[in-house]
C-alpha cells in the first residue's frame, strides 16, 4: 500500500520538492546579506527600547526592494500553502478514484478499505506536513531579521509582531498544523461530496473561513490574556466623538512591551469603571490642543488586554497541537466513513 500511495503521489511530491528547492536557493542566496545588514544595524543589542525604534527604522530604510518583495512572497506562500495543499492534495485523494472509477480495482486487492484509506491519508498527510514544515523553516529563518525589526515598531506605524494575526500562522510550527488540517478537510470534503471540483471549492471556503476566524475570535482564548492599567496619554488620542453628550475617546495605549499582541484597550476613570466623560464644547472646535488638555485633566486610564511576547511558543505548540488533533479526528472520520458509505 505504501508503494501504491508513493506511486500515485510521486508527481505531486516531485513538484512540491522542486518548488521548495527553487525557494531554498533564492532564500539561501539573499539570506546572508539580509542577516549581515541586521547584525550591523545594532538592533540585536539595543537598549533602551526607544533607541531600538530608531535603529529598526534605519534598518527598514536600508532594505532593498528585492528583500521586501521576497519577504512579502514568503508571507504569501505560507498563508496560501496549507489551503492549496488541502485543495490539490486533500480533495482529490479519494474523488479521483471515484471519478476515474478505479475504486473497484483499488478496493478488491488484498488490502482492506480501512487500511487503504489509513495509509493514503497518513502518508500524504505526512507529506503535506513535511512540505509546510520545510517551507516554514526556510521562510522563518530568512525573515527573522525583518520580523524582529517590525515588532519594534516603525515611525511609519507598521507594527507586525510575531504573535500578531499576520505573522503568527506563517512562522515556525503552526504551518504544519494548518497544512495537516487543510489536507484532512480536503479529504473529508472529497469523501462526503465525492466530486473533485465541488470538494475543492468546499475545502477552500472552509479553510479560508478558519484561517480568518481563528486569529480574530479564537486564538486569544487559548491562553487568558494579561490585563494591565496604564495612564491615558492625551498625546496618543487620535479620535474623539460626542455621543449623547458624552465623549468617546479613542487612544493608542501608552504601552511599550516589544512584541506583545495587544487585544483590546478600554478607557476607565480613576476608580476603574468605564469612563463617562461629559462632552465639552472645546472638543468640537478646531482647537485639538485645548481638547487634549481637557482630557489630560481628567487623569483617565486605559486597561490593556494583551498576550506577552514570551507566550509565542506556548501559542505555537498549543495551536499546532489543536490543529493536529483536529486533522487526526477528520482523518479517522474519513477512514470510518469510507468503509460503509462509499461505493
Amino acid at each position: 500500500m505504501t508503494w501504491l500511495t508513493w506511486r500515485q503521489s510521486r508527481a505531486q511530491t516531485i513538484a512540491a520538492g522542486a518548488a521548495l528547492a527553487v525557494l531554498a536557493i533564492v532564500l539561501a542566496v539573499t539570506g546572508p546579506n539580509l542577516a549581515h545588514l541586521y547584525d550591523s544595524s545594532g538592533i540585536a543589542t539595543c537598549h533602551p527600547f526607544a533607541t531600538c525604534h530608531t535603529l529598526a527604522d534605519t534598518f527598514g530604510n536600508k532594505l532593498s526592494k528585492l528583500d521586501i518583495v521576497l519577504y512579502c512572497i514568503g508571507l504569501g506562500v505560507l498563508l496560501l500553502a496549507p489551503g492549496l495543499i488541502g485543495v490539490f492534495w486533500g480533495a482529490p485523494l479519494v474523488t479521483r478514484e471515484i471519478e476515474a472509477r478505479t475504486f473497484p480495482l483499488a478496493w478488491n486487492q488484498g488490502v482492506t478499505r480501512t487500511r487503504w484509506m489509513a495509509v493514503k491519508v497518513g502518508l500524504v498527510g505526512l507529506l503535506a506536513m513535511a512540505t509546510a514544515g520545510l517551507l516554514s523553516l526556510m521562510v522563518t529563518w530568512w525573515s527573522s531579521p525583518i520580523d524582529t525589526s517590525l515588532s519594534l515598531g516603525t515611525t511609519s506605524g507598521i507594527n507586525l509582531t510575531r504573535l500578531g494575526p499576520t505573522l503568527f500562522d506563517s512562522r515556525d510550527i503552526t504551518p504544519i498544523g494548518y497544512a495537516a488540517v487543510a489536507f484532512a478537510a480536503g479529504v473529508t470534503a472529497g469523501v462526503l461530496i465525492r466530486r473533485t471540483v465541488p470538494a475543492m471549492a468546499a475545502t477552500l471556503a472552509a479553510f479560508a473561513a478558519v484561517q480568518v476566524a481563528w486569529p480574530i475570535w479564537i486564538r486569544q482564548h487559548l491562553i487568558a490574556p494579561v490585563h494591565t492599567v496604564v495612564a491615558l496619554n492625551p498625546a496618543n488620542v487620535y479620535q474623539v466623538k460626542g455621543v449623547n453628550n458624552s465623549l468617546i475617546i479613542s487612544a493608542v495605549p501608552d504601552f511599550t512591551q516589544p512584541g506583545a499582541w495587544v487585544l483590546s484597550s478600554q478607557i476607565v476613570d480613576q476608580s476603574g469603571h468605564a469612563a463617562h466623560v461629559a462632552a465639552p464644547q472645546v472638543c468640537f472646535g478646531s482647537n485639538f490642543q485645548a481638547c487634549h488638555a481637557y482630557i489630560g485633566r481628567l487623569h483617565l486610564r486605559q486597561v490593556v488586554a494583551y498576550e506577552p511576547a514570551s507566550r509565542f511558543w506556548d501559542f505555537q505548540w498549543s495551536e499546532t497541537a489543536i490543529f493536529l488533533a483536529l486533522a487526526l479526528a477528520l482523518g479517522g472520520f474519513c477512514t470510518w466513513w469510507i468503509r460503509r458509505h462509499i461505493t
Binding site: 501504491l4 506511486r7 476515474a100 478488491n108 486487492q109 488484498g110 482492506t112
Partner: protein, 255 residues
C-alpha cells in the same frame, strides 16, 4: 457441492428503489456462472454486494465462506473485474503488475508476466493509452494473478469489439481450464456466456427469475416442450415473462 456464493433474502435499496430484492441463491463452487439480465436489472448490484463494494440493505451474503471484503484474507479469495475494466490511466502496465504484487499476498508474478507477454503488450505502456480490449486484458490479468478462489467479472466485454471479445473470452477460458477457480460473469448478452458457462442465473427487474445448471435447464424444457431449445431462447423466455404485465404467466419458449 459447497456453495461459493450463498445469499439469503439479500436486498439493496437506493432511496425507495430496490436495485435487488429478496435474492436467495446458492451458487455451487467450481462452476462458470453466467449472470444474465437486461440493463438495470441489478446485476452490478449483486456483484458489488458479492465483492463487498456494497453493503446489503437486507439479508446476508457469504462468498467463499466469508463475509465479503471483511478482511484482507477474504479479499484475497475473490478476484474482481469491474464494469468498463478500470485501470489507472497514469500508471504503466508494469506499474499495475507491481501494484498487484504489493497488494496481494498470493500474487502469482509469473502468471501475470506470462499473460502480458502472451498478449504482446508493452510493459512500459501507460494504461490510459491502451485500447479497450487491452485494458480489459490488463484488468483480467490483475484479477487472476492474485489467484482467487472466485473470479467475478462484471460485463467485462460489453464495450469491446467482436475480435477483442473473442480474445478476452478465450484467455478467460484458458485460465479456467488451467486453474481451479469458480467464475461468475455477468452480461446482458446470452451469446457471450453460452460458450463458457455451465450455470446460469437470470436476473430481471431486481429479482432472480431462474438459477441452475445450463444442462439441467435445457433438458427440463426439452422434456416439457418435446423439442430442444437453445440457452438464448430459454433466457429470453424468462426475461419476457418477467417483463410481461400481470407477473407470472406461462413460460413461452419461441420456436
Amino acid at each position: 457441492m459447497a456453495a461459493v456464493i450463498e445469499t439469503r433474502g439479500l436486498g439493496k435499496r437506493y432511496g425507495s428503489r430496490w436495485a435487488l430484492a429478496d435474492c436467495t441463491l446458492s451458487i455451487p463452487s467450481g462452476q462458470v456462472v453466467g449472470l444474465v439480465g437486461p440493463n438495470g436489472a441489478g446485476k452490478t448490484t449483486l456483484l458489488h454486494l458479492a465483492t463487498g463494494l456494497l453493503a446489503p440493505t437486507t439479508g446476508t451474503i457469504e462468498v467463499a465462506g466469508g463475509q465479503p471484503a471483511i478482511s484482507a484474507a477474504q479479499l484475497a479469495r475473490v478476484g474482481f473485474v469491474a464494469q468498463d475494466t478500470p485501470a489507472y490511466a497514469g500508471l504503466s502496465i508494469a506499474d499495475h503488475l507491481r501494484l498487484g504484487a504489493h497488494l496481494n499476498p498470493g500474487w502469482d508474478a509469473r502468471l501475470a508476466r506470462d499473460r502480458i507477454r502472451k498478449l504482446g503488450l508493452d510493459r512500459g505502456q501507460k494504461a490510459g493509452k491502451l485500447s479497450g480490449g487491452q485494458r480489459a486484458q490488463l484488468a483480467l490479468t490483475l484479477a487472476v494473478a492474485k489467484r482467487p478462489e472466485l473470479l467475478i467479472l462484471d460485463e467485462p466485454i460489453a464495450s469491446l469489439d467482436p475480435l477483442a471479445r473473442r480474445e478476452f473470452l478465450q484467455s478467460l477460458a484458458d485460465f479456467i481450464a488451467e486453474h481451479q477457480v469458480s467464475v461468475v460473469m455477468s452480461s446482458h448478452l446470452v451469446s457471450d456466456l453460452e460458450r463458457v458457462c455451465d450455470y446460469v442465473i437470470v436476473l430481471v427487474a431486481s429479482r432472480v427469475q431462474v438459477a441452475g445448471q445450463v444442462g439441467d435447464l435445457l433438458a427440463a424444457h426439452h422434456k416439457l416442450t418435446g423439442r430442444p431449445v437453445s440457452l438464448e431462447d430459454l433466457v429470453l423466455a424468462y426475461m419476457s415473462r418477467a417483463a410481461a404485465p400481470g407477473g407470472e404467466t406461462e413460460l413461452e419458449v419461441p420456436r
